[in-house]
C-alpha cells in the first residue's frame, strides 16, 4: 500500500467514526426519510443547474469534486500526532455557489461510499444530507448575510458558518442514529456535538485561510456567486438553519431527557425501534416542569424548521420562473 492510500485511510479514519454513517446503523424508515429530503434538494439543484451555463459547469464541478476529495487529505497537524482536516461543505458552497456546492459534495460522498466503502449505500441519503446539503446551506446562507461587507467581516462570518456547518452535520447525524434506535441520546449527542465543536474550529480556521487566499488572488471567482446569485432566500434559509443548530445543539446536549420525551410523544421512537422500548421508570420522575418546558421548546423549534424549509422551497421554485422571463 502506498503513502497515498495510507494517507487517505488515516484521513478517513479520523472522521469516519464521526460522520460517514455505515449501512446498518439507520433504520429503514430513517434512511428513506433522509433519502427523500436529499432527493428533494438535489432535484432542485439539478433543475437550477440546467441551461446554457451547465455545459461549461460540468467539468468545473467534476474537477471541484476531485478538489474537495484531495483537499480532505491535506492534514493540519494540531498537537501530539492528532491532526484535523477539511470537510469542505461550507468552502464548496461559498466558492462555487450553493447549487454547485451541493452537487459537488454529493458526488464526493457518493464516490467515497462506492469506491472506499466510506459511508454506506442505503444510508447514503443521510450522509448526503448531513455532510453535503446542511453544510452547504448553512455555509452559503450565512456567508450571504454579509455580502458586500468588508473583507474581514466576510471572512469572520465564513469562519462561523464553517464551524456551525460541522456542528449541524454532527447534530443531524446523532439525532438520526438515536431516532433509529442505534444509540443512546444521552451519551451520543453531547459527545458528538462536543467533539465536533472542536473539529469545527479547525474547519473554520482552514476555510477562512483558504478563502482569504482566494480573495487575494482571484477575487473574481467569489464575486460571481456572492453578487449575481445573492438571494434573500438563501440568507433566510441559512439563518434559520443556523438558529436551529444554535438552539438545538445545547438543548439536546444539556437536556436530552426532554428531547427523548418529545420523540416518545410524537411516536418516533416506537417506529425506530424494532424491539419494545420504554423509558426507565426512574428516568421519567424528576422535574415535570422542566420536561414540559422543553416539550414546548422543541415544538417551537420543529415549527421553525418546517417554516424555514417551506419558505426555502417556495422561494427556490419561484426563482427559475423569474430567470426565464
Amino acid at each position: 500500500m502506498s503513502y497515498v492510500s495510507r494517507a487517505y485511510i488515516s484521513a478517513g479514519a479520523t472522521d469516519s467514526p464521526a460522520l460517514h454513517i455505515p449501512d446498518g446503523f439507520l433504520s429503514v424508515w430513517m434512511a428513506l426519510l433522509c433519502w427523500a429530503a436529499a432527493v428533494l434538494l438535489l432535484a432542485i439543484a439539478v433543475r437550477r443547474s440546467r441551461g446554457e451555463l451547465v455545459e461549461r459547469q460540468i467539468p468545473l464541478m467534476g474537477v471541484m469534486a476531485a478538489f474537495i476529495f484531495a483537499a480532505q487529505m491535506i492534514n493540519f497537524p494540531v498537537a501530539g500526532g492528532t491532526s484535523g482536516h477539511l470537510l469542505g461543505g461550507a468552502l464548496a458552497a461559498i466558492a462555487l455557489g450553493p447549487w454547485a456546492g451541493m452537487l459537488v459534495m454529493t458526488s464526493v460522498i457518493g464516490v467515497q461510499a462506492l469506491l472506499f466503502q466510506d459511508g454506506g449505500l442505503v444510508v447514503m441519503g443521510a450522509n448526503i444530507l448531513n455532510m453535503g446539503l446542511l453544510t452547504t446551506l448553512i455555509g452559503y446562507g450565512l456567508f450571504q448575510t454579509v455580502a458586500g461587507q468588508r473583507r474581514e467581516v466576510r471572512l469572520a462570518v465564513a469562519g462561523i458558518a464553517a464551524w456551525l456547518s460541522v456542528i449541524a452535520g454532527a447534530l443531524a447525524t446523532s439525532l438520526q442514529l438515536w431516532l433509529s434506535g442505534t444509540t443512546a441520546l444521552r451519551i451520543v449527542v453531547p459527545a458528538m456535538v462536543g467533539i465536533h465543536a472542536l473539529i469545527g474550529i479547525g474547519e473554520a480556521l482552514i476555510t477562512v485561510a483558504a478563502l482569504a487566499f482566494i480573495l487575494q488572488t482571484r477575487p473574481d471567482i467569489l464575486e460571481v456567486h456572492s453578487q449575481t446569485r445573492g438571494g434573500r432566500g438563501w440568507v433566510i434559509a441559512g439563518a434559520i438553519m443556523a438558529l436551529v443548530v444554535v438552539l438545538l445543539a445545547p438543548l439536546a446536549s444539556a437536556n436530552p431527557d426532554g428531547l427523548e420525551r418529545v420523540a416518545m410523544d410524537l411516536g418516533f421512537i416506537q417506529q425506530g425501534m424494532a424491539s419494545p422500548y420504554q423509558i426507565l421508570p426512574d428516568y421519567t420522575l424528576p422535574l415535570m416542569n422542566e420536561t414540559a418546558l422543553s416539550t414546548i421548546l422543541a415544538g417551537a423549534i420543529g415549527v421553525m424548521v418546517v417554516a424555514g424549509l417551506t419558505v426555502m422551497v417556495v422561494r427556490l421554485l419561484r426563482r427559475p420562473a423569474r430567470a426565464t422571463s
Partner: protein, 266 residues
C-alpha cells in the same frame, strides 16, 4: 500516481465480473436493505447472509478471506452503537459502577448492539465485493442506466478522472510543506496552531485555484475534441438472459432470508 492506488478493482473473468454492472449495484443495495430489515437476533438468517457473501466472493475468484481484510472500516462507528447495549430495558447481564453512574447491560440491549454490528459488517463486505468486481467507469455507467440524473453522473465521472491528478497535486503540496518544516516538532517548531491552520488553508486555496484553472483548460480541450455533452462507452452494458436470471435468483434468496429470519424468531 497510478490509478491502482485508489481503485480496489480486482481483474477477473468469473461469473460475477461479467454480470451487468447495474444488476450488481441493485443487488448490492437490496442485500444491504435485506440485512437492515432482518429483525434483531435473527442469527440463522444473518449467518446465511454471510454465506451469501462468501459464495459471491468465491464465485468472483477472490477467495474467502478477501473481504475480511477490509471489512473493519466501519467498526469504529460501533463505538456509538455500544451505548444502546446499556439503554434498553431487559434482563440485566452486567453491572458496572463508574463514578455516579451505574451502567447496566441488558440482554435486549446486547442483542441489539450485536445485530447492528453484524448487519454493518455484512453490508460493508458486499459493498467491497461490488467495487472489487466492477471497474469504476462501469459503475458510473450503471448509475446512468439506473436513471441517476445525467448531470450528477457526469460530475462523478469527471471527479473520478481527476481524483488521481489532484491527489498528486495535494501530495506535492504536503511534501513541500514537510520539506519546509511547517510540521510541529519536539521543542515547539512549526509555529502556533493558528499558524499551521493558515498554512493548510493557504495550501487548500492554492489547490483550489489550480483545480479551477485546470477545469478551464479541460473544457477547452474537450471542445477541441468534439465534446457534445454526452459520454460515450464501448461497452453497452446490455442486460442478457444471464443477468436477469442471476438477478431474479438473488432476489428470491434474499426474500427467503427474510422469511427465515422472521420464522426463527417466533
Amino acid at each position: 500516481m497510478h490509478a491502482n492506488t485508489f481503485d480496489r478493482y480486482q481483474a477477473g473473468e468469473g461469473l460475477i465480473h461479467s454480470l451487468a454492472p447495474q444488476v450488481k449495484v441493485v443487488l448490492t443495495v437490496l442485500f444491504i436493505l435485506s440485512n437492515v430489515l432482518l429483525p434483531d437476533g435473527a442469527w440463522l438468517a444473518l449467518s446465511l447472509a454471510w454465506c451469501l457473501v462468501l459464495l459471491t466472493s468465491t464465485l468472483a475468484g477472490l477467495g474467502i478471506g478477501y473481504t475480511l481484510k477490509r471489512s473493519f472500516v466501519a467498526l469504529p462507528f460501533a463505538l456509538a452503537a455500544v451505548t444502546v447495549a446499556f439503554n434498553l430495558p431487559g434482563q440485566p447481564l452486567v453491572k458496572w459502577n463508574i463514578g455516579p453512574w451505574q451502567l447496566v447491560a441488558t440482554d435486549a440491549g446486547v442483542i441489539r448492539f450485536a445485530s447492528i454490528v453484524v448487519r454493518t459488517w455484512l453490508s460493508v463486505q458486499m459493498a467491497i465485493l461490488l467495487t472489487a468486481t466492477t471497474r469504476f467507469p462501469d459503475l458510473i455507467h450503471a448509475l446512468n442506466h439506473l436513471h441517476i440524473p445525467q448531470l450528477l453522473v457526469a460530475i462523478i465521472s469527471f471527479m473520478y478522472r481527476y481524483l488521481f491528478i489532484l491527489t498528486d497535486e495535494a501530495m506535492r503540496l504536503m511534501r513541500a510543506r514537510e520539506a519546509r518544516s511547517a510540521r510541529p516538532m519536539a521543542g515547539g517548531g512549526g509555529g502556533s496552531v493558528a499558524w499551521r491552520a493558515r498554512v493548510s488553508g493557504n495550501m487548500i486555496g492554492q489547490l483550489f485555484l489550480r483545480s479551477y484553472e485546470r477545469s478551464d483548460r479541460v473544457y477547452n480541450a474537450m471542445l477541441a475534441r468534439g465534446y457534445s455533452g454526452q459520454f460515450l462507452t464501448i461497452s453497452p452494458h446490455q442486460m442478457h438472459t444471464k443477468d436477469w436470471a442471476i438477478g431474479a435468483t438473488a432476489i428470491i434468496i434474499m426474500l427467503l432470508l427474510q422469511v427465515i429470519g422472521r420464522l426463527t424468531l417466533q
